[in-house]
């Protein structure tokens, strides 16, 4: 085993909450559903949970095995490795996309002059050093950061209650059903089903039978937080919610309690730094560990920095400009992610069932 650390199901839940909140904390998903975004998130949560059901069932079927080892078992060495490489590409690309969001937000709102390379490198260094410390350290970080973030979200929501105009949420289900479903699917594919990267981490549960419940619990909690944030943004910003790139950031700017509790938008930015840190770290961890397993290395630590650099380079060259990034994440990503999130895990699960893997006769294959 490359990873000696073990995490509890509770830690996994918290880490997963942090991962899902990751960049969706600032780019509230379902934005194209306008004030019905929260319905889209709720539907997306359902779809995402179904998807999560597939991959957790797959990974927990093979105790203590990551998807890479499972692929080898199910498809054989050659095809298995090919499929594993597909996954690795997805993790790497997703990491680069999150980095893109990260840098875009900070360069737009707070640091317009700082070179994007520098920002990317700084974030990558911190994530790399955390990954270097192993999954346990990462999970423990999440245990502090996620409760902090969630309480900040609630605090900010409290402060915004005077600015709520619930009329802005009416009428419910204003959107044509097709559009809403598409929006729901894009929500499912953007934060929720991205948790497919946990196929690399579920193996390190100390009690693997609790994994399924941990994952679904985490998705529901993260979904609730996102729904609350989305309702808040719609209620505060009204029809402008669909126009802003970062509605949460704009909504929090509205807070003004006696000229003292005002200009709190930095809290949203801090939330994004910390949650984005968790998300990138998890993705980097998945990529690096997976690559080490594909290549049969004895440790994933030596390749953290090179892979991190590759992720940064991918983030730098990923898109030519911001509008392409938005175009990709809104229109193409929900389709692009389907094979990685649903099709491959589903096929693997079916084949594993048909071949009755893993063999229960105890002997390690």
């Amino acid at each position: 085993m490359l990873e000696k650390g073990r995490i509890s199901s509770f830690q996994l839940s918290v880490l997963l909450v942090g991962f899902v909140l990751g960049s969706s904390i600032i780019i509230t998903p379902g934005g194209d559903a306008g004030h019905d975004a929260w319905i889209a998130i709720a539907l997306g949560l359902m779809e995402g949970s179904l998807i999560a059901l597939i991959f957790t069932a797959l990974v927990l079927r093979f105790k203590d095995k990551t998807i890479i080892e499972i692929n080898d078992l199910v498809f054989g060495k050659v095809i298995g490795k090919l499929i594993s490489v597909l996954f690795l590409w997805y993790f790497l690309h997703l990491g680069a996309l999150v980095l893109n969001d990260y840098v875009h937000f900070f360069r737009l709102e707070l640091y317009p002059a700082t070179p994007r390379t520098v920002m990317l490198l700084i974030i990558m260094l911190v994530c790399a050093s955390t990954v270097n410390r192993g999954i346990e350290a990462l999970a423990r970080c999440s245990l502090i950061l996620v409760p902090l973030t969630i309480s900040v979200i609630f605090l900010v929501t409290m402060f915004l209650i005077p600015h709520f105009n619930l009329n802005n949420l009416m009428p419910i289900l204003d959107l044509p059903i097709g559009k809403l479903l598409w929006s729901a699917h894009s929500v499912a594919s953007f934060p929720f089903a991205e948790s497919v990267v946990f196929v690399m981490i579920l193996a390190f549960l100390n009690k693997s039978e609790k994994g399924g419940r941990a994952v679904s619990k985490a998705l529901i909690i993260a979904g609730l937080v996102l729904i609350i944030a989305s309702i808040r943004n719609s209620a505060v910003l009204g029809p402008m919610v669909a126009a802003y790139n970062y509605p949460s950031y704009q909504a929090v700017q509205v807070i003004d309690i006696r000229d003292i509790f005002t200009r709190l938008e930095i809290l949203v930015a801090i939330n994004f730094i910390t949650m984005g840190f968790l998300k990138i770290s998890v993705l980097l961890y998945g990529t690096v560990l997976g690559l080490a397993q594909v290549l049969n290395l004895q440790s994933y630590r030596p390749i953290i920095l090179p892979v991190g650099i590759l992720m940064v380079i991918l983030a730098l060259t990923n898109v030519a400009n911001t509008i392409e990034l938005f175009d990709f994440t809104h229109k193409i990503y929900p389709i692009y992610a389907v094979p990685f999130q649903i099709i491959i895990p589903l096929i693997t699960l079916i084949i594993a069932k048909l071949r009755q893997l893993p063999k229960t006769d105890g002997g390690m294959p």
């Binding site: 002059a113 911190v126 910003l237 029809p239 126009a243």
Partner: protein, 395 residues
């Protein structure tokens, strides 16, 4: 072994992060290199299409001379002799071009995040605000809760008035707007409110109108002062009309923004302590009927007749008050129908209740709106009668 390796790596990472920081500080904005813009004025010459911006910036060294600066001459405090603000003007073809031009004469980088109020000249408002609004909303420096005001003449005139108890006039102006909204005279409109109404297509944006008036000071000196004297009504991004004082209050009654304030009827003055408005649309046979239901509660704070107050009298006062409110509301509804500007968000109310029918109605809203039948129902309640329960003089 492993620990030592890890320790070394993390040390290197810490050092390299710090060194990266030290190499460059790209976004450092030292406070003493910034010119803090407190108020922004936007004017447009309709003939030449040239925009003019007026900046009211804070001169920090003059705001409050700190005692430790120990100076002989700069000792006086207050707004007396020291100019704590500075006015600058620039003109150009597009708003951002003008903003940009500041750097030709400013010694400090303009910093817009603390802008308190944006004043828009009447001509600009009538000509169309879209380019300017886009500048404000698109720019990360434009906060959504900056207050908007329309000048009844040129914006630069308003920003040039030196008046008020505040060191920074723009702060004073923002306070005037907030106060008038708190006492339910005129609406306070932020950029966010304005653009939300704007993006809603059928809803017409509004904004308070500010004017300058002159009065004679104690020593016969002519003094300029600012006051709010109306509410501008927009259709799209263009100003098309103006509500007077009574109509402005009426507007606030309808859109449920009454907080505090007073209702004055011939025989008494009443202080509003609470109010709630419901807009109930009804669609019958393709025709829209809207009921505005106002429930209000007030205290008696002044009674003009030397009579004891009896339950009957209270009843009469309640009715008189309801009539007064109704007349305000009716006045503003009449005006808005005349302007064909849905300043009450009636369209939104219909949308919320009849979302299917709304799809068809939305494009024709301009035709439908003037034909809407609006009925007003006012329920008032008088609660307290003040510190005395007997008239202090009998007739």
């Amino acid at each position: 072994m492993k620990n030592r390796q890890q320790g070394k790596i993390s040390l290197v990472i810490l050092l390299s992060i710090i060194s990266v920081f030290i190499v460059g500080c790209w976004d450092s904005r030292e406070l003493s290199t910034l010119s803090l813009i407190a108020g922004l004025g936007f004017d447009l010459d309709p003939a030449t299409k040239r925009a003019t911006l007026t900046y009211q910036s804070i001169v920090p060294s003059q705001v409050k001379p700190s005692p430790s600066m120990g100076g002989g001459e700069g000792k006086q405090t207050g707004s007396g002799g020291l100019q704590s603000i500075q006015l600058d003007h620039d003109t150009g073809l597009s708003p951002y071009e003008v903003l940009n031009r500041y750097t030709q004469h400013g010694s400090r980088i303009p910093f817009y995040q603390h802008t308190q109020v944006i004043v828009i000249g009447k001509a600009a408002a009538e000509h169309g605000l879209y380019p300017f609004l886009d500048t404000v909303i698109r720019n990360p420096a434009g906060r959504p809760n900056i207050l908007l005001a329309i000048s009844d003449n040129k914006a630069s005139d308003i920003l040039a008035v030196e008046d008020g108890m505040e060191n920074i006039q723009a702060v004073g102006m923002a306070n005037i707007i907030k106060l008038s909204a708190r006492f339910s005279k005129y609406p306070a409109v932020t950029c966010l409110d304005f653009t939300s109404r704007f993006i809603g297509k059928t809803t017409a944006p509004v904004a308070p109108i500010m004017g300058v008036f002159e009065e004679t000071g104690p020593e016969g000196k002519r003094q300029k002062k600012i006051r709010i004297n109306g509410t501008a009504v927009f259709k799209g991004d263009k100003m098309i009309g103006k509500l007077n004082e009574q109509e402005s209050s009426g507007l606030l009654w309808v859109i449920n923004q009454i907080e505090k304030g007073f209702v004055i009827i011939p025989e008494a003055s009443l202080e509003i302590i609470g109010s709630k408005t419901k807009i109930i649309p009804e669609l019958t046979g393709g025709k829209i009927k809207i009921t505005v239901e106002i429930e209000e509660e007030a205290n008696l704070i002044q009674y003009n007749n030397a009579r004891n107050i009896t339950p009957d009298l209270i009843h009469q006062l309640e009715k008189a008050q309801a009539r007064e409110i109704e007349s305000q509301v009716k006045a503003v509804i009449k005006k808005s129908m005349a302007l064909n500007a849905d300043i009450f968000d009636f369209g939104g109310a219909v949308h919320r209740k009849y979302k299917k029918e709304w799809k068809k109605m939305e494009p024709r809203w301009d035709d439908i709106y003037p034909t809407i039948e609006v009925s007003v129902k006012v329920k008032t309640r008088l609660d307290e009668i003040g510190d005395i329960n007997k008239a202090i003089m009998t007739e």
